[in-house]
């Protein structure tokens, strides 16, 4: 049965972040401090180096190393948030392989992000992308869909969540300092989180 290859997922995410670095930084320049693309690229470069170095075996080991590399290399808000996502994902997935394991671990990761950042849907953050994606994963897994169909639904939900951040007034993160002026801009964290879901779809083996 098809499953998400965790190492390919993380490496694919790194590649997407590299391709979109300038876009992520430009989005951050509009409502933040213009470093999201740079920070994510620095973090994911460290992640790939760590994975090349140690060649971890299980999905849990891959995601734990990803978490530690992100927390050590990124700083800012993205480091602890993406780091916490992968740390909780690692604990929940262990050596699990199928799409139900993936959905359960993804949900644990999202819950970790919410706990660390204290943000809710509608605050104009990465949570606006991650929660709909986790909901789509759960619903389609429960419905017995194929791995590909489950992840297609998650990719669509994540993209819709990302796009829905544009009109919102930010209530968390640095964009919240702009008040009403933050409306009309797509959230950079929601954008990189959508790349994370997109990378999972491309890592189905």
């Amino acid at each position: 049965m098809a499953a998400v290859d965790t190492a390919a997922w993380v490496r694919g995410f790194a590649a997407l972040v590299g391709e979109h670095e300038a876009e992520l930084t430009a989005l951050d320049a509009a409502i933040g401090d213009a470093d999201h693309g740079t920070n994510m690229r620095r973090g994911m470069t460290a992640v790939v180096a760590a994975l090349d170095d140690s060649q971890p075996g299980t999905p849990g080991e891959v995601s734990k190393q990803t978490a530690m590399a992100l927390i050590r290399a990124v700083g800012g808000a993205s480091g602890p948030l993406f780091g916490t996502f992968f740390l909780r994902f690692a604990a929940a997935i262990g050596s699990g392989m199928d799409i139900a394991d993936f959905a359960r671990a993804f949900r644990a990761g999202v819950d970790g992000v919410i706990a660390r950042g204290k943000a809710e849907p509608g605050d104009k953050t990465m949570v606006d992308t991650l929660v709909p994606a986790a909901d789509a994963l759960d619903t389609r897994v429960a419905g017995g869909a194929s791995t590909e169909a489950v992840l297609d639904a998650a990719v669509s939900a994540a993209a819709a969540g990302r796009d829905a951040t544009t009109p919102l007034v930010a209530r968390k993160g640095r964009a919240s300092y702009l008040g009403e002026r933050s409306a009309g801009h797509q959230d950079p964290g929601a954008t990189s989180a959508a790349l994370l879901v997109l990378a999972a779809r491309a890592a189905v083996r």
Binding site: T25, A29, I31, G32, D33, A34, D35, T38, N39, R42, I71, R72, A73, V74, G75, G76, A77, S78, G79, P80, L81, R116, G117, A170, R171, K172, G173, R174, S176, Y177, L178, G179, R181
Partner: protein, 333 residues
């Protein structure tokens, strides 16, 4: 972008190497990215650790030394330090009397310091307390925002809490001083130009020749509103009104007035602004008892300034006057 740099990605490391060369009285650990007082840890003394993104120099590394910080951890430009760095700084200054983390209220700084404090408690059992600085009146403080930013009051708090720690006061006392300074301080800033982040290569925001931003922070983020350029005397009113309204500064109050340059504004303009500010404060019957003018909490090459007022009492005045010997602040010794 025209800057005195070699490689945009290596700016922080190269600047730390320069600090190490210029200040042998500090211990600069390039690998861990921490700046520590050469004589730390000192038995019986509470350790003061602060940090945040680079690009605000001399904050924080320039304030490490006798009477102020024991260690600073600079992150990437405008990006908070990582937990490993903060943990290393905490361990380097912990002499058994506890460590105070001074954290500016930004989501990333707060989360990374929290993670570091959890790790410190688990690893060494160090007693760590944190004070979060949030003096910026440009941000409406409510349940629905990340809350007010920490800006100019950070320096004042580091100086006064640092003096308390130097006198050998216990952790709870040093933390109380820090909380008191934060509660009595308010700031507001403005920008005439954007700054340029080296790794980005172009200005963070575009500002027309006839425009200025009111209510900026220190990370090149746009302010609360954009208004037509005005003379300094009007800018002084725009900045002081919300400060005076927010913390009821009353007639007869004595204040510390800190007029801060954002990095790209010459001192002649800052002194000119100080003249306007002091005239307005006199009109309100508020006495400037102590003052500080200069670029201390900067935003790279941004042109602009911020004003911070701290309501003084005898204790805080004495803590401000206490000796300090750091690269950027030095008196009484």
């Amino acid at each position: 972008m025209k800057k005195l740099i070699n490689d945009p990605a290596g700016v922080v490391d190269a600047a730390l190497a320069g600090m190490a060369a210029a200040h042998p009285e500090l211990r600069v650990d390039a690998k861990q990215r921490i700046i520590v007082r050469a004589d730390a840890p000192r038995p019986g003394k509470v350790g003061l650790v602060s940090g945040g993104g680079s690009g605000h120099e001399p904050l924080h590394g320039g304030f490490v030394g006798l009477g102020m910080l024991d260690a600073a951890c600079p992150g990437e430009i405008f990006t908070s330090p990582v937990p490993d760095q903060i943990l290393a700084a905490t361990a380097a200054v912990d002499a058994g009397a506890g460590v105070l983390h001074i954290v500016k209220n930004y989501t990333g700084d707060v989360m990374n310091f929290e993670m570091a404090a959890e790790l410190a408690a688990a690893e060494s059992g160090a007693e760590v307390r944190a004070v979060v600085v949030n003096d910026d009146v440009a941000v409406q403080d409510s349940l629905y925002t990340a809350g007010r930013r920490g800006v100019g009051a950070t320096l004042i708090l580091e100086k006064m809490a640092g003096a308390g720690a130097e006198q050998g006061r216990p952790l709870a006392e040093v933390a109380r001083i820090a909380e008191t300074v934060n509660a009595r301080s308010r700031s507001m800033g403005m920008a005439l130009t954007s700054c340029t982040v080296p790794a980005v290569g172009h200005p963070t925001f575009e500002l027309g020749d006839g425009e200025m931003e009111i209510g900026i922070g220190i990370h090149g983020e746009p302010g609360r509103r954009r208004v037509p350029l005005a003379p300094a005397r009007d800018v002084a009113v725009l900045l002081l009104d919300p400060i005076l309204a927010d913390l009821p500064f009353a007639q007869g109050d004595r204040v510390l007035c800190f007029l801060n340059g954002m990095g790209g504004t010459p001192l002649i303009e800052l002194y000119l602004m100080f003249d306007e500010v002091s005239r307005i404060l006199r009109g309100h019957g508020i006495q400037i008892e102590r003052s500080l003018v200069g670029p201390y909490v900067t935003s790279l090459d941004m042109a602009g300034c911020s004003i911070t007022l701290t309501r003084l009492d005898e204790e805080l005045t004495a803590l401000w006057d206490a000796p300090v010997r750091t690269p950027a602040l030095r008196w009484g010794i």
